[in-house]
Amino acid sequence: MRRYLVIVAVLAFHSANAQVARVIKFDELESILKSESDDLLVINFWATWCGPCVKELPLFEALTAKNDPALKVFLINLDYADQIDKVNAFIARKKMKSEVLLLDETDYNAWIDRVDTSWAGAIPATLILNAKTGQRKFIAKEMANGELESYIEAVRAGL
């Protein structure tokens, strides 16, 4: 019994500290996009090999650190699924706290337009969305300092 408790405690400690990427298919991302939640969703598409993506990640991490109950950050990783160890090592090295979902879909034409029809496919790209009201802003470029906040304000204000 005691040993069991120790294992539970170790696991709980482990999961609270070590963030790992979860592999998902597009239907799960789509259910996030179509969720009826009141929260503002900030969905960033990135990969470990994408320099500008890596550069802007701290902006999203800072957003996560604010613990805003009405805002949820998802970092959608587009590394190949067989590179998950590399992605998890990256997450551990950067001590990332945001939720990272590795989107395991190779047929991009089957889903790119379902994220945003204006998206040509280059990353980084970010979707700021209020799924309930449908207010959205899609940004297909690296975010400059302060830009993320102003986009979020604009979507919140329904602009």
Binding site: F45, A47, W49, C50, G51, P52, L78, Y80, D82, T106, D107, Y108, N109, A110, I112, D113, W119, A120, G121, A122, I123
Partner: protein
Amino acid sequence: MKKLTWSFLLACTAFSFASRSPSYELGDVVSNFSLKNVDGKTVSLADYKTSKGLIVIFDCNTCPYSKAYNDRIIDLDKRYASLGFPVITINANDPEDSPGDSFTQMISLAKKKNYKFPYLVDQTQEVAKSFGATNTPHVFILKNEATNFIVAYIGTIDNNSRDASSVTRKYVEEAVDQLLADKPVSTTKTKAIGCGIKWK
């Protein structure tokens, strides 16, 4: 009043810039361009006036998608150059931003992979901009109609970047096969996740 005139003038300038440089769309005629190849010689679109068309691919050394597609690009040229649709690849990445895409590195890759087709450097990035290329690899199939090169397909190579053996749609091959058979191209536009071109 003076301020107003200035803002009006500025607005006009902004508008004329925006309207002056649209990128190619399907059906557009591509203007001639000349770029330096890895062998030091200049290659121009006009050099291909006797071919049936061209498979123009904006590509680079470093992007994981370019690496994943490298052998498939070589195969495209092997298969279609003799049928009148050779491949030309163009690297527009700013080497300051991406040193692995420098002209020297381009030469090494072309040698290592024994390229039989041009690998051109778009130093000013003007050709990439005129095509509206955004990613690597980004394919533009051109059809030669009485020495006018017309854009017939824009997009990705196939529907599985990671694993060539799992591909179920070969967009570029389908389009070139249709053009060779004088048929309309059924899928003229696709998208793909890719590394954005590193602009200056």
